[in-house]
Subunit: 192 residues, 2 copies
Amino acid sequence: MVRQREFDTDEVLAIAMNLFWQRGYTNTSMKDIVQATGIQPGSLYSAFGDKEKLFQQALRRYTQEFFRTSMPRHRPPLECIQHWFEHLAKAMTSDPKQKGCLIINTAMERESHSPSTLAIIEDRLDEIESFFRQNLDQAKLDGDLPQSFEVDVTAKAMLGSVVGMLAVARMRRDAQTLGSIAAGAIALLRSG
Amino acid sequence: MVRQREFDTDEVLAIAMNLFWQRGYTNTSMKDIVQATGIQPGSLYSAFGDKEKLFQQALRRYTQEFFRTSMPRHRPPLECIQHWFEHLAKAMTSDPKQKGCLIINTAMERESHSPSTLAIIEDRLDEIESFFRQNLDQAKLDGDLPQSFEVDVTAKAMLGSVVGMLAVARMRRDAQTLGSIAAGAIALLRSG
DNA sequence: AGTATTATTGATCAATCGTTCAAGAATAGG
DNA sequence: CCTATTCTTGAACGATTGATCAATAATACT
């Protein structure tokens, strides 16, 4: 039985994700998505649910494809931190559309989102802070940081720097600005 | 001749500013403003022009009332920088609505705004960077910073930290997080 | 082949958006 | 008081929003 779906939900989701990323949630209409994908409203709704569910799926996809993948692993912890900042600075500099980061963009669009969407964003912020905390803890164990190093304060300061870079990137994409923000964050390793 | 206006445009502008600050531009409708102020659409439009002009006036008001006023002056330059970060951390912590900063919120809402509005935002970002650059330059002249201190890199890194703090504040308002971001920014003075 | 099940289509829904406008009300000069 | 000018009111505009639905088409099992 059953007629089979004629479009690839993953391709369509990728297109929707990019629209949300570029223009934001409120500023992207279902009509925009219909036009960009060529899929009619009925099909879209039966495949993804309503607009918010579609967005959450796009957000999940973004997390897998751009967020988690970008975090370095299996290297010396301080290198992981440094490389992540440099990677993000480079990624932001080379995006002519200045989309920034979908997660941070969504966090700033607070009032347009449901509590469940905001909970997902909260988790991602926690994940960022944990990335720093875990690497700093390990670096301390490895003797790469002094015993007096304040891991918690530095992890939170670095969270601020990442968010700052990704937010600034929406208005400025010059390598000097973004590189300086990265350099400032890395400098925290020598003074924290 | 002429009938005189029955409402105080400044009071109405303050209400509109707070709505835009709280909910963002796209997410605040003219109907919301009509309801919050009690002023009918026609009067609103004749007093302020269209929605975008009203927003720009609200933005100008915010700049005067919250932005420029918050920047310390007439003190030792490094103290100015430190006090600004501490002031912002405190202000963000004590706002139960977590509105963040209207300027940064607007910067993140890019796609909803006209080029002329974005130009205003650009100017404010430049103003922030200049605040740091000028104070760092002066501190260097005063001998409070070593001659090797990289003013430009640090000014840009601090821009990132401010924006990061104001963006993070939309999701987290705990004193530890915001205080750590401030501390991280100030630490740049000892390593830049 | 027949039937049950699901997908696609695109017109259409009510609600809301930013904005306008004719009507009535208030003022100041003559 | 009369008139010219401006302000206020609130209904109404066309456009757009997210979402639905009946009609039609395609599939897979019996």
